[in-house]
Symmetry: C2
Subunit: 396 residues, 2 copies
């Protein structure tokens, strides 16, 4: 059984008014301060960002998606190239998901809607060929070939990729399914979690640490059961996954129903969630790390995070920026944020020029990293409420 | 009449065996060594490259296209934003074309084929509404509105943009037209050149220097006439434009038919031409500066320039690079060329990831800049033939 001796999670301060905490998460590729934000390098690259640009934006940790790497270029190739750190040129801490989320998703991006309750189409996923106790199979979106994924294979693929922090394989249940289905699914995810632990321990060489995933949909008793399961097993960390309901309130209730029952001293990761308001809400429920594609996806659509903007972002495509000579945000100390006028970025967007996505992606990443530094400082100073008002003033 | 006192072109060495020369071209935004290469920032950006990335690749000078800026965001807006240098954040020397080339082109990119004799479709350009002695009008590709362009307006728009080196307005004749049409067109370009000079002188504040353009199609006597025209007028530099024939041999003949008659002591720019073999061929005919979209366009299609590669480039999409752990080219001293394996770039291209275009664009620009530095060194050392064999060994 792994002792995770190359890893450590140390809580250095607990907020007296909430579950928020400051921590230090040590991995073989470096130590990060928590709370922190994990940027998505889905296909072995954060879109249009080089590792040097990620570092310039003061990013500490990134993730990559096992599902996408399985399909292209293949996890075996990543291993042959020396692992993902070397392949993509990122030498800092890294996380991979298990592949489960995408397998069960209804095509790209749709499962995210489902989990956040923005759709009720449910399972009509043609790329998903079968689910059984053994695992599942799906069709490659690149060449249509059938690909199997089981708990054991997920561990193998994540080992080949070589990220520091890895996830158990789980079934992700959609919003519309009933409690019975959700319960049976959660139980299977638990059995899959145990198979992941067995497989992980059999090959453990100290390079990776495994997270268990809390499932259970929107049902507090299932969430409690699943949380206690993860606590009882030898996982290094806990992740919160699956269906989170249809509103901010429901999402809050789901996480609140896990919080008292998950392991108090292990790092907690919130899968796929990461608006600015989510960071403030869920840090207070004890979340240590977030990940979400939203900072770079919004960037590609012309939106820039601005501290103090009630809607979180401004849309540079808006005609009001056509002659705006001010830079994005001089408080964010990188050239992308300080050296280009909004008018110029507006022009680049109008002209469909890729430099816009480069500038806005780096700005958004740097802004979120500034947010996380300030959140950590605020937890240290017991001033999280004040900081939230600075970032998200009441909308007029 | 302008004395171009803020500009200077000084020839520091002439090759004893050819018309090749070393020069220093001084502009209000800095001095460049020649021969040199001007990278295309068509719509106020070299595609997916920030000014910092251009500098890291050791670029000395860029150009932007008046036609594209007229259409989006408009030259008046560029002026209002402080000129193009400030708008796009490039503080080095800059050139603009007159807008003529694109107006007369058959949709994007097609005129380039026409000029290089790769098509004989001729004038069926629906966006071109009319040509007359006064000038021409065309339809905006963005919103369909009618836009006029005359010699006087081209000077005005180029003044608003504010590049250091600007071009006279000319008519670009296609390959298939006969000598009579070409002669009449060249004569009109000469009258337009005179109107450009008048307009330029009326507003000259020392910030810009005007190039005359040699036209005359593939007809040596017309080329001679047009060359002598540019020599006789108070242009700062000479550009070679228009139809260059259907083969490398014809292109050579066209430039060779201008070379003896253009001003010996003025900088000579070759419009829109710039493969590696063109650089070696036309430096020997006295070309001082080249421009072409090819380095960044090839990059977006997965091709990397490699010194010593007989075909000039390798195509990273090729399956042979799937497991190639070597970097693009360690002789090119930037992270893009040294820090990523060909296998990784192959993966990025297969996955349609934008980082590939960023890496390959910067690599190609840096490689061409290395080529130009070595060409200058070779002229200094009388070793241009040897250098050409190093860059372009005989194809097996």
């Amino acid at each position: 059984m792994s002792d995770y001796s190359n890893f450590m999670f140390e809580i250095t301060k607990r907020d007296p008014k909430s579950r928020a905490r400051l921590g230090r998460l040590k991995t073989p590729h470096g130590t990060i301060e928590t709370p922190n934000y994990i940027f998505c390098g889905t296909k072995a690259t954060v879109k249009n960002m080089s590792p040097a640009q990620l570092k310039e934006a003061r990013s500490d940790i990134i993730l990559s998606n096992t599902y996408h790497l399985m399909v292209q270029p293949g996890c075996e190739l990543v291993e042959q190239m020396g692992g993902l750190h070397k392949f993509m040129g990122w030498d800092g801490p890294m996380l991979t998901d298990s592949g489960g989320f995408q397998v069960f998703s209804l095509g790209e991006g749709t499962m995210a809607n489902e989990i956040k309750g923005r759709s009720n189409k449910g399972y009509d996923n043609k790329s998903l060929l079968s689910i059984s106790e053994e695992g599942c199979s799906f069709k490659s979106y690149v060449d249509g070939r059938k690909i199997n994924l089981t708990p054991e294979l997920s561990m193998k693929y994540q080992r080949q990729i070589g990220a520091d922090l890895i996830m158990q394989f789980d079934e992700c249940t959609p919003y519309h399914v009933d409690k019975d289905y959700t319960a049976r699914s959660m139980e299977m995810s638990i059995r899959w979690g145990d198979r992941c632990l067995t497989e992980f321990n059999a090959h453990d060489d100290g390079a990776q640490a495994l997270y268990g995933i809390v499932q259970g949909g929107v049902y507090p008793d299932l969430r409690r059961f699943s949380s206690e399961y993860t606590k009882d097993r030898n996982f290094f960390g806990t992740a919160i996954g699956g269906c989170l309901g249809g509103s901010d309130e429901e999402m809050y209730e789901v996480v609140a129903s896990c919080a008292p029952y998950i392991h108090l001293n292990r790092p907690v990761h919130f899968l796929g969630i990461g608006r600015i308001k989510d960071v403030f809400t869920f840090v207070r429920l004890g979340i240590d790390t977030f990940d979400c594609v939203i900072p770079t996806r919004l960037a590609r659509h012309g939106a820039a995070y601005i501290k103090g903007e009630p809607r979180e972002t401004i849309n540079l495509k808006n005609a009001r920026y056509r002659t705006d000579e001010s830079p994005l945000d001089e408080r964010v100390d990188i050239p992308a944020s300080c050296n280009f006028s909004k008018a110029y970025i507006h022009h680049l967007l109008k002209a469909n020029e890729l430099l816009a996505s480069q500038i806005l992606s780096q700005h958004n990443i740097a802004t979120i990293n500034m947010l996380m530094r300030e959140v950590r400082q605020a937890i240290a100073n017991d001033s999280l409420d004040n900081l939230e008002r600075e970032w998200l003033p009441k909308r007029l």
